[in-house]
């Protein structure tokens, strides 16, 4: 009996298997590859920003009926790990798009490998102009690169010049400022530009120096700045130990206010981390709990609700990157890379940071209404006020406590 039933069962099984429709290509998820420095706050926020956007989009049905899925790879802060991460995501996981980046040196190293993998890369952290320059120099091979965040360092320099001329010279009447930057390449390119333009604008710049991010002791710098008679110290810090710098500045009660670009000081809990010693420090930022667009405050609150902490700039950029990509794919009606690139170039998306549009180099544009740099100062109670540009200013700029005139 078994001998006769077996072929029937086997046959039925075979027919059933043949009838089971293999998973349609359209049902496969769209893979987002996130390459970032996972062990740093900036990296974690990149990932969290992406995850938040992915959840929102998937809840509304995904993109072209397909769900979005996230794959990560730690690029650390070393080019070697970055290249390995990119190769793993593109070669092993076969992601459809790369989102991430933080250290410009690492991203620059990854570029030829991204190009070889012919995968779109949406940058959310690196600022070097050299990255997007490749789009102009070799469009065919590097058209995959887009920068969603931040404004590149050349534009940030122009913004700083605006701050120097408008706020420091114009509003506060300073005539002597010093400049201090860490010795990252983008800073080394920025400082001579700032010094030259400040001098042409009529300011004196007695001191412009670089320091190694491993510097533990800033006393010589503070002594020299003080002795030079400077009225303001413009700082440009990204990887460096801002906490140490700020704490040492506060403890020694250096009679020179500080401000500029301080990436670590963009963290919402930086003030608490340094025991309140960041009061009166000014730093650039891209997003704050202020109504830059109608999405800014809802997004900020939603992030805090989901993750129990305030976001840093990379979270906003990463969130935007996912939406920008999703929109482009929806408009292109396919995930074919070349078609999506065409649509990405036409992006016009209102994000929590401002309007996201790309220029000919695939850079996110700045200018009125677009994504812009704002200058934020820590107030005495740990609150933050926007002190520049005038159009979005929410408070007056204060002096360090030991310099207040009352």
């Amino acid at each position: 009996m078994l001998k006769r039933i077996t072929p029937v069962i086997a046959g039925s099984a075979l027919i059933a298997a043949a009838l089971t429709v293999p998973a349609r290509a359209e049902d496969k998820p769209i893979l987002l590859g996130i390459n970032t420095a996972l062990q740093l706050q900036v990296g974690r926020d990149t990932l969290d920003g992406v995850r938040m956007a992915v959840e929102e989009i998937n809840a509304k049905g995904g993109v072209l009926g397909r769900k979005l899925e996230v794959v990560t790879a730690d690029e650390g802060e070393s080019p070697k790990e970055g290249v390995a991460a990119v190769n793993k995501l593109t070669g092993d996981n076969n992601v459809n798009v790369l989102i991430g980046g933080y250290d410009s040196g690492v991203t620059l190293a990854e570029l030829p490998h991204i190009s070889r993998a012919q995968t779109i890369f949406l940058g959310t952290g690196s600022a070097s102009p050299s990255i997007q320059q490749k789009v102009k120099d070799d469009y065919a091979n590097y058209k995959y690169l887009f920068r969603v965040n931040p404004i590149n360092s050349a534009k940030q320099a122009a913004s700083l010049m605006d701050f120097i001329k408008g706020k420091l010279k114009g509003d506060l009447g300073y005539s002597k400022i010093s400049i201090l930057g860490e010795n990252a390449k983008w800073v080394q390119d920025m400082v001579p530009y700032l010094k030259k333009n400040a001098t042409e604008a009529g300011l004196e710049v007695p001191f412009a120096e670089f320091f190694d991010p491993q510097t533990a002791d800033f006393s010589p710098i503070f002594a020299k700045v003080k002795d030079s008679g400077s009225q303001y110290l413009l700082i440009i810090l990204s990887h460096a130990a801002s906490d140490v710098f700020v704490k040492q500045w506060y403890d020694a009660k250096v009679p020179v206010p500080i401000g500029g670009i301080d990436v670590k000081s963009q963290d919402a809990d930086f003030f608490k981390r340094v025991g309140g010693k960041a009061v009166s420090e000014v730093t650039t930022n891209f997003v704050l709990r202020k109504p830059i667009t109608e999405k800014s405050i809802p997004w900020w609150d939603a992030f805090i609700k989901k993750y129990n902490r305030a976001p840093v700039y990379s979270a906003a950029g990463a969130y935007d990157a996912v939406y920008v990509y999703a929109d482009a794919v929806t408009r292109a009606k396919t995930i074919d890379t070349d078609a999506v690139i065409k649509e990405l170039e036409k992006t016009d998306y209102v994000s929590p940071r401002g309007r996201v549009k790309f220029d000919a180099l695939h850079e996110v544009q700045d200018g009125p209404g677009n994504v812009n740099v704002i200058y934020v100062q820590w107030q005495a109670d740990g609150e933050r006020a926007v002190v520049w540009p005038k159009e979005v200013a929410s408070g007056k700029m204060i002096d360090p406590p030991w310099m207040m005139k009352n």
Binding site: P79, V83, K88, D92, A184, Q188
Partner: protein, 323 residues
């Protein structure tokens, strides 16, 4: 067992097996795996060149990255700044690295042990900091980018690197087995006696460093051509230390140790990616366990045992006494 001091038929057969396995990698592995292995082969060249110098002469060099970075930057400059074909980078890298080895090696001839280690470390640190300060020329922290690759396909780059490793191993082994190598070992054992016997000790010491530097620089150029980027991280203390760890874990004083240690540890760092943020912690834990329980090295002593077993077994067939 004298360092690098022996070569048997079984050793050669074992090497051929390893080479065969490595040759198969591009067929079974993804592009990612091939990339990892290419880097691992570069590390193997660096580890072998380090062990040649430090294993034979007994002077542990804590600044091997100096030669690696120098070679890599040389290749990078010729490629990017002067627009030369990448092939020029290889001999140039080796030559410049050798020059640097003379600059730092000659004044430090008298140094031994931790004093020598620190002097070499200082050399690497100085070059690292200089490459960051003179950013207009060297690209600072970002380094030199956009090198043009010498070979279009990644797979051919892999085979080229493999060939380079094989050549390195053959040349260094040959030197080690020659009278030159014997003298180096003698100097390590008792420098004073060698001096008294009329051997120009300084010449041999510096030559060992030069040879080590040449291959390290050559490996640096290979790395640059794969990575297509060169940066100050190639001078880093961490790189020097990692190479020492690889040789140590593999087993000092043996080619299998150096090559095997490099392949093992690179494989481990990448293979543990599934642990995500715990990756390096697990890696360090494994390292401590190895250092504690297998302090003579994982690869080399194991291979010696396997080899002797094979030779013992084959002696039954050929009736030759195992030497």
């Amino acid at each position: 067992m004298p360092a690098w001091g022996s070569l048997t038929k079984t050793d050669v057969i074992g090497a051929i097996v390893v080479i065969a396995l490595l040759s198969v990698v591009p067929f079974v592995g993804s592009r990612y795996i091939v990339g990892i292995m290419t880097i691992a082969l570069c590390y193997a060249i660096w580890a072998t060149s380090w062990d040649f110098m430090s294993g034979l002469t007994g002077r542990e060099n804590f600044g091997h990255a100096l030669f690696i970075g120098t070679g890599a930057y040389t290749a990078g400059f010729l490629n990017v700044s002067f627009g030369l074909s990448p092939w020029w980078g290889f001999p140039a890298a080796a030559i410049v690295a050798v020059l640097f080895s003379l600059v730092i090696g000659i004044p430090t001839l008298r140094l031994r042990g931790p004093y020598f280690a620190l002097a070499m470390l200082s050399g690497a640190v100085v070059m690292q900091k200089l490459s960051i300060i003179f950013s207009d020329t060297t690209g600072g922290q970002d380094g030199l980018n956009g090198l043009s690759p010498m070979l279009r396909s990644q797979v051919s780059a892999y085979y080229f690197t493999l060939a380079a490793l094989i050549a390195t191993v053959i040349v260094l082994k040959f030197i080690a087995l020659s009278p030159w190598g014997t003298i180096l070992r003698a100097i390590r054992g008792d420098e004073a006696t060698c001096q008294a016997a009329g051997i120009n000790v300084n010449f041999y010491k510096i030559s060992a460093l030069m040879i080590s530097a040449a291959f390290a620089g050559f490996g640096g150029a290979l790395y640059a051509n794969y990575q297509l980027q060169v940066g100050p991280d190639l001078f880093d203390v961490a790189l020097s230390i990692n190479i020492i760890i690889m040789v140590y874990v593999g087993g000092m004083g043996s080619i299998y140790g150096a090559v095997g240690g490099a392949l093992l540890l690179i494989g481990l760092t990448e293979g543990l990616r599934s642990f995500s943020e715990y990756r390096l912690w697990v890696y360090t834990l494994i390292l401590i366990l190895i250092l504690f329980f297998i302090p003579n090295g994982v690869i080399a002593p194991a291979w010696v045992r396997v080899r002797d077993w094979i030779r013992g077994r084959s002696a039954i067939f050929t009736r030759r006494a195992s030497a």
